[in-house]
Symmetry: C2
Subunit: 417 residues, 2 copies
């Protein structure tokens, strides 16, 4: 292992992580930010709110990492024990921090709420730590140093943790070490499976310089390829990465969606903004999910006019103008229905392009004729409408994701064709 690396471990504390009630989204975000700063995440460990587990994890992770980032267990309730355990681990005693106390008082004053003794206890910290201000909540963060290792404890609430990382932790860590230079580039492919992609770039992968690493990230029928370069010489590593990334792009050109680390809906959003075109959707089986993807990012009003989610045939007919005869003869999941949905959406929602989807997402509703996973997608503008049939074979959630991403990919191809 190259010892010029700075390694971090992430410890997440909370019984909710071990009983499956919470999905940990913090660790992925933290890893991304640490990577950007040149810090390599070596392990992530999730443990319960138990003294021995916390101490055991601290002892283990300090053996393999330079920096130990800890989230969770700082709330005001009795099951939150991270703070007293850290106080025991690093020595010292709990004292009220004046800045943290003022912060707690201000937050309660702002919301005009009475304070409880448990809220005041939030302002207590071990006197062996440096306090990290929490601008978004009541629990302060804590920075400890011991035997050459750095330990940072932060709340598990995502936006509080993110604020501390961005404002304090990453900048301070960046000043501490001589970091190696980590840089990566990602591209997105569609229409080719992971193993065929691997075959296609087999020689490229074999000949890859040792300073670069290639990762395959398959997701919903699309595969992202990420090339990461690591080294001490910034210019050298950037040049190598650019050369190899260019080569990789050429090799997968037929399947290339974007050479940026963007999801499909971002690619489509950027394309529409660039071309000053607008989009609307007519969604049956995706139930508004495509509209949600497109509006989840700021600036959607520049290109997105709206959507009709037509979950009943009546709405397809009365709002989007799909003919009753079509619905009765070819059915709601048919090429003709999605064609008419595109027409109706373009007229009603006044956009340059329309996406229409109708399908059977499961687990119920399928038949021999029209099995679960059957989807019709239509894409159109004022001049032309194209259609495509898909057959997915997964659970409802994945089928909705796949339908949305494939519909957006078809739209992308329609726009650039």
């Amino acid at each position: 292992m190259n010892q010029t690396f700075v390694y971090a471990s992430i410890i997440t504390i909370g019984d909710e992580l071990l009983i499956g009630q919470v999905i940990d989204t913090n660790s992925a975000w933290m890893a991304t930010e640490l990577n950007k700063a040149g810090i390599w995440v070596r392990r992530r460990v999730a443990i319960g709110d138990a003294r021995e587990e916390i101490i055991h994890a601290l002892n283990e992770e300090r053996n393999i990492a330079d920096i130990i980032l800890i989230t969770g267990g700082l709330g005001p309730t009795a099951d939150d024990i991270t703070k007293p355990v850290l106080c025991e681990y690093f020595g010292g005693k709990l004292v009220v921090d004046e800045g943290a106390l003022q912060n707690v008082q201000q937050i309660f004053a702002r919301f005009n709420r009475p304070m409880l003794a448990t809220n005041l206890k939030q302002a207590e910290v071990p006197d062996t730590c440096t306090v990290i201000d929490n601008k978004r909540g009541t629990a302060p963060g804590m920075w400890f140093e011991k035997e050459g290792k750095i330990y940072v404890s932060m709340p598990g609430v995502p936006h509080e943790m993110k604020g501390m990382m961005t404002d304090y932790v990453i900048p301070r860590l960046s000043g501490y070490y001589k970091m190696p230079f980590i840089v990566s580039r990602t591209l997105l492919t569609a229409g080719i499976g992971e193993s065929f992609l691997s075959e296609l770039i087999k020689n490229f992968e074999k000949d890859l310089p040792s300073s670069l690493k290639l990762a395959y990230l398959p997701n919903y029928g699309m595969v992202r390829l990420r090339l990461t370069g690591i080294g001490d010489k910034k210019e050298e590593i950037e040049t190598t990465l650019q050369q190899q990334f260019g080569l990789l792009k050429t090799l997968v050109a037929e399947y290339l969606v974007t050479d940026q680390d963007d999801a499909m809906h971002i690619v489509v959003s950027k394309l529409l903004k660039q071309q000053h075109k607008t989009l609307c959707t007519a969604e049956s089986c995706t139930g508004g999910y495509i509209a949600h993807l497109l509006t989840a990012e700021p600036g959607a009003s520049q290109f997105f006019t709206g959507s009709v989610v037509c979950y009943s045939n009546k709405i397809k007919e009365e709002v989007l103008g799909v003919s009753r005869q079509t619905l009765e003869t070819t059915g709601a999941v048919s090429e003709e229905t999605v064609r008419q949905m595109v027409k109706g959406a373009l007229a009603l929602l006044k956009a340059d392009y329309a996406v229409a989807v109708s399908g059977i997402m499961g687990p119920d509703g399928g038949s021999a004729d029209k099995p679960v996973g059957l989807v019709w997608v239509a894409i159109g503008n004022i001049e032309k409408t194209i259609t495509q049939q898909f057959n997915f074979r997964f659970d409802r959630g994945r089928n909705i994701e796949l339908t949305s991403n494939n519909a957006l990919n078809l739209l992308r191809k329609f726009i650039i064709s």
Copy 2:
């Protein structure tokens, strides 16, 4: 620590987990299923695709757990090294498994795709394991036993892992141990913060029998309380849990949304189905997210007719009939606009109830008058429309979640009032 427990550790393998490109949803699902079977998850560890890391993690986890569940690193590409490392760890050699080979061949035949040598390698397994069939993909699972510990390796693809867990791993594990009995009940509250809730039930929590454990799970302005009972005597633990859960319900009655482990959109869906009523939505700032939540579960067509996502004022005016004067004088984010959106939605989408939302989700678009986080919600039926203003203070994603959940809670109260 009570030694009648059976402990599991979950090891997830994959560089993508350490560079932040993938959010691990597998572990939460696995933990839930293991808990139901009476197995306690003690730790979850995420590591990279590196031989030493895998061996180190196996050595560590076998010290603290009886069962080590491993996911990931079984794909066909060069970065997937879990199988050879397990072969080294447990001894033996890689051999072709006939069942796994047939499975791979059948999958490729079904999709009418040519096979590559790397796909055939998927059928190789260490001869020291029991093969677990993969009905949903090409990589077989592997079951190892060594020195009284059980190790199970499964693919990281969620639906493949879930299939193996349900069909094979959980049933076989359940036959292995005399499990303690783990049972839990969860309720959902709204309208009270975590610390105030904690104060309200302080004495209850203090007097809780030692066989029960209470967890607070705050999420989007709502707090779930989960009471878990653990013990060897099934009837005793069930009786204690029911008694205490009943007491807890009484204490939080004023804020109780449901005494089931259901998210807000499920509570509302069930209520509408029970009452044989239908719902539609008119969504500006949530961009279809409420419609998506309601249609993410099967059976939504029983109560959901559809939605108009009106991202532009033109759509509000032309499709939902919001008056131009209102949009020009009070603006799109106003009480009057959402009132008119309810009226328009009820007329167009033919439902018993309508939910309308309009707000500023950020990060841009705010003003001194109407800051980011300002949201107006209206709920109505043919007879009556109620409105409520909210002020959220988070990032765009959280604001969309909060708006959706609070709108659904307002609808719930409107329906039962």
